[in-house]
Symmetry: C2
Subunit: 225 residues, 2 copies
DNA sequence: CGTTTGCTTGACCTACCTCAACTAGCGTGG
DNA sequence: CCACGCTAGTTGAGGTAGGTCAAGCAAACG
């Protein structure tokens, strides 16, 4: 049941049993703790079981870009499989728990578990298209649209996890949101205030209430799909 | 020899022979032709053998974002493996030739060819970190840095293919470059003129000569790595 | 050889950034 | 428990990078 959180999709009963082998290894990560750093050896991917984690890359000048905020059930470390080196940092936004999926173990199980390979492929593909979506946002949406889309995305993912899509706690700071969306913290703050003033949301510190979901969708340009 | 272009890295001799099976299917694509469209069934990935291709996504409002310019030896369609549906368009920038790698065929070969799976994994991982890099560019670089980085990246990839890194023909319009980098065509044009004025490059229409590689590197912020 | 398409350049504008001051929580130690 | 300091967030004023609009030009194309 809980295993489903790690690599959830389309597996037979006995496959899941075999999977158990892979997922036996767990790891607790305190708030602010680093799961891995850019340059580390990458011999595993990680399934987030609880908590939340940000991933970020850093260029030669120390310029940082957050590439994702991960929620339980999501998988990280997929970008490190190219050269078995991590190319990003993964930092816990709150106390978190991950399971470790070692690649060599996975490859040993592969012949008996073709669905596992396909599953990993699907996850990687999803991450590719997710970051392409993000490119669209950074490349061509205006600030208000970016933040609206960000909130809606978060809301949706929390709903999938069984939480209310209408009220939630942001695990990240304004600065982190801004960095992620290619904006400054001031702009993010102003937008929160403005959205609240316009009755779209209610916000108090990191607690967000979505009052007008379809209003946000209209704003983000996501609704007419 | 030419097969190496399709899935090049780290394979034994006999593995390559088996690979041949997979790659027998070729396809010619005229300039402007569409290899696949968003929504198409995705049962294969494609290796670009010659020419160049752009990939782009389109949102509900028709907003387009180019996510990549592909050169020979590079693989596309990796973002469609999530739901066996293409999530992007692939359009030829010039007459091109692709080889087709069907996923079901690949999965059949998988038991005999574990390296193939690993190779695909590496390619997908590379695409993930490439788009994360791109996020960094769109999120936090200034226009001049983006264009400089773009030119350097192109130059590098062409050099790997055996072409001169100092002079090449852009296969894409100013508008396409602008869209890719999150800028307008006017800004791109102005930057080309400015780079030329400053002696960094010589540019005449789509023909680019890089005169001061390290100058470009300094500008892009890539040099001090 | 005219038409179309892509590129350049200029003038102006605005969305977002920068800088700065102020405020609210929140943890810590006296 | 309060006072203090610290960090995160808010808000304002003003500046600027890059967008928009518009005109002109050069290649490419039928």
């Amino acid at each position: 049941m809980l295993n489903a959180i790690c690599l959830p999709l389309g597996m037979s009963r006995q496959d899941v049993v075999k999977m158990d082998e892979l997922l036996k290894e767990r790891f607790r990560l305190p708030k602010g703790g680093t799961l891995y750093r850019q340059g580390d050896a990458a011999e595993a991917v990680f399934g987030l079981r609880s908590g939340s984690i940000k991933t970020q890359i850093e260029d030669a000048n120390g310029q940082v870009q957050i590439t994702g905020f991960l929620l339980p059930g999501e998988v990280l470390g997929l970008d490190g499989l190219m050269n078995e080196r991590q190319v990003s940092h993964a930092i816990a936004l709150e106390d978190s728990e991950v399971c470790i999926i070692r690649l060599d173990e996975m490859d040993q199980l592969a012949p008996q578990l073709p669905s596992l390979q396909r599953q990993l492929r699907r996850l990687m593909s999803k991450e590719i298209s997710r970051s392409h979506q993000l490119l669209l946002a950074l490349g061509s949406l205006r600030s208000e649209q970016r933040l609206a889309a960000f909130l809606l995305n978060l809301s949706q993912r929390l709903q999938i996890l069984g939480y209310s899509p209408y009220e939630f706690i942001l695990r990240m700071s304004r600065e982190e949101i801004g960095n992620f969306l290619g904006l400054t913290l001031e702009t993010v703050s102003r937008l929160f205030s403005r959205f609240a003033r316009e009755g779209l949301i209610r916000v108090q510190q990191r607690e967000v209430h979505i009052l007008d979901m379809s209003g946000l969708q209209t704003l983000s340009g996501t609704d007419c799909s």
